[in-house]
């Protein structure tokens, strides 16, 4: 009887111990993310004002890596998405003899939704994973500690240039994606729907309002920061050699895309109901 009770107590303690550890771990993570965001904000906006400098040089290097080098793949995917959108819309609109509204559908869907979303997903796959791998490898190779031992702040040196580059370049890529996506729609309209270049283009311009493009760009800045922070977080969390780098890199892509979709749902509903 007594043995039974002590056994049950043991299980009890084990259970609460398990919950306690989970909660502690959660707190630790939340605190780490909180510090990462706070430090990034400090080193981006406050530190340069009090003369602690901003590494614009490496931010420009990062912009080339994240932005300029991504133009071909963003272009290719956006053109295909534009074509697909045009074909799928035309399939329905043909039944009503309203194929000209393909222009409206492609333009609005591309600028409000698919341009920012596809660009962010490409950047998450290309650069988010790259950031996680770079910082993770640096952590494994004691490079982060070397930076600290020289009196450098890793947030200022590694995180801020990447975040800045992403926040500037992802909206730029989104604008490119919008243009190329609409061109993809035009190519289908001209070659297969007999709509005529001028007619389709004027319908597009007529359909688009300023708000469509702006909401898309606001979303893309948010996506950019999410991708950057996730990549950096995963990089700093790497432990245990090359295997750890691989695991965190994969996680960074999965988590980035998840957060992008979540933020997309939030902002789209915000713009839909409130603006």
């Amino acid at each position: 009887m007594t043995e039974n009770v002590s056994q049950r107590q043991g299980l009890f303690v084990q259970f609460f111990g398990w919950i306690g550890r989970l909660v502690l771990e959660l707190f630790e993570r939340v605190f780490f993310i909180y510090r990462l965001i706070l430090d990034s904000l400090y080193w981006t906006f406050a530190a340069p004002l009090i003369g602690k400098g901003l590494r614009l040089g490496s931010a420009f290097d990062e912009m080339v890596k994240v932005g300029v080098n991504a133009v071909p793949i963003v272009g290719l995917i956006s053109f295909s998405i534009g074509m697909i959108l045009a074909m799928q819309s035309a399939y329905q609109l043909e039944q009503f003899g309203a194929t000209i509204f393909t222009a409206n559908l492609v333009a609005v869907a591309q600028t409000r939704e698919l341009g920012p979303l596809m660009t962010a997903i490409i950047v998450a796959g290309r650069s988010g994973s790259g950031i996680a791998a770079e910082i993770g490898t640096m952590k494994v190779g004691e490079e982060i500690e070397a930076l600290q031992s020289m009196g450098f702040n890793p947030i200022k040196f590694l995180v801020v240039p990447k975040l800045l580059a992403l926040a500037v370049m992802v909206p730029c890529l989104t604008i490119i994606s919008d243009f190329i996506g609409i061109s993809g729609g035009i190519s289908i309209a001209v070659f297969s729907l007999d709509l005529g270049f001028g007619r389709y283009l004027s319908a597009t311009i007529f359909a688009l309002v300023f708000k469509d493009i702006i909401t898309g760009l606001i979303k893309s800045v948010v996506f950019a920061v999410l991708v950057g922070l996730t990549g950096c977080y995963m990089g700093f969390k790497v432990e245990g050699g090359a295997e750890g780098v691989g695991r965190r890199t994969t996680q960074s892509v999965v988590v980035s895309i998840f957060l992008i979709i979540l933020a997309d749902a939030f902002f789209t509903s915000l713009f839909y109901y409130l603006w």
Binding site: M138, E142, E143, E145, A146, S149, M150, G151, F152
Partner: protein, 270 residues
């Protein structure tokens, strides 16, 4: 303890305790590192010597205790003040820790570019001098991945001394290198000490290298300091663990312990 009274202490560690969760890594450490000498921190694997080094350069904050570097307690300093102290400290990491995305020359020049307002031409010359010093003249444009293990270590030395530090820390300088290259690094440490008059702290378990470079020896075992003194005193020490280290004796187990271990391995009940 003769050395510590003779010369002034540049680093003093008082009652340092480091623990990760339940496990105590460093248990009430007290030690003194004299200025201008080469101190070797000896100890077996897992004795806490690398952990001690990481605390001496302020990478981690200890559970309790004080670390005084040039009279200032680095465990109490804010980031900016710590950064100011670290400018006068050079560190050579075990894995060299060169920044792989920039060239060897840029690695050496980085602290100068960030911490000083020197002109680029001056920085170039200083970089060249430091690389000459470690025997890597003409390697400015190489990327770290193009260097061998020993050359990477030398480049790491060049980067560590680029700001003319007062204290140079080396974590296992000969780890993973062949004896010839390792001996070359010992010579480099001797040369740097002579040329730059630095305080050098080397963490190692290599006895040969220790005999060559050490003025002052600190030995750790199980998170405690078990010996401090000169080479002469070290050789004469009667401490069991020190003798074991000098005589290169393996860990001894009694017949009974070995039997018990063997039984535990062969029976399937855990």
């Amino acid at each position: 303890m003769e050395t510590s009274t003779k010369t002034e202490a540049i680093i003093q560690v008082r009652n340092l305790v480091v623990a990760y969760e339940e496990r105590v890594i460093l248990d009430n450490i007290n030690l003194v590192i004299p200025r201008g000498e080469t101190t070797v921190i000896l100890g077996g694997s897992g004795c806490g010597k690398s952990t001690l080094l990481r605390h001496l350069i302020g990478l981690h904050k200890p559970e309790s205790g004080n670390i005084l570097v040039k009279g200032r307690d680095i465990t109490q300093l804010g980031e900016q003040e710590l950064s100011d102290i670290l400018r006068k400290v050079g560190v050579v990491f075990q894995s060299s820790a060169l920044f792989n995305s920039i060239s060897v020359g840029d690695n050496v020049a980085l602290p100068l570019r960030e911490h000083t307002r020197l002109e680029e031409s001056t920085i170039q010359i200083m970089t060249k001098i430091k690389l000459d010093m470690v025997g890597l003249s003409g390697y400015e444009r190489f990327m770290p991945s193009e260097l061998s293990g020993g050359m990477k270590k030398r480049a790491a030395f060049a980067r560590a001394i680029s700001m003319d530090p007062e204290i140079l820390f080396c974590d296992e300088p000969s780890a993973g290198l062949d004896p010839i290259v390792a001996a070359g690094l010992d010579q480099l440490i001797l040369k740097l000490k002579k040329a730059l008059k630095m305080t050098i702290v080397v963490v190692t378990h290599e006895m040969a290298s220790m005999y060559l470079i050490a003025d002052h020896i600190i030995m750790l075992n199980g998170g405690k300091v078990i010996f401090t003194g000169t080479q002469e005193e070290f050789k004469k020490s009667q401490n069991d663990r020190v003798r074991q280290f000098i005589e290169r004796r393996p860990e001894e187990y009694s017949e009974e312990e070995i039997g018990r271990y063997a039984r535990a391995l062969t029976t399937d009940s855990f």
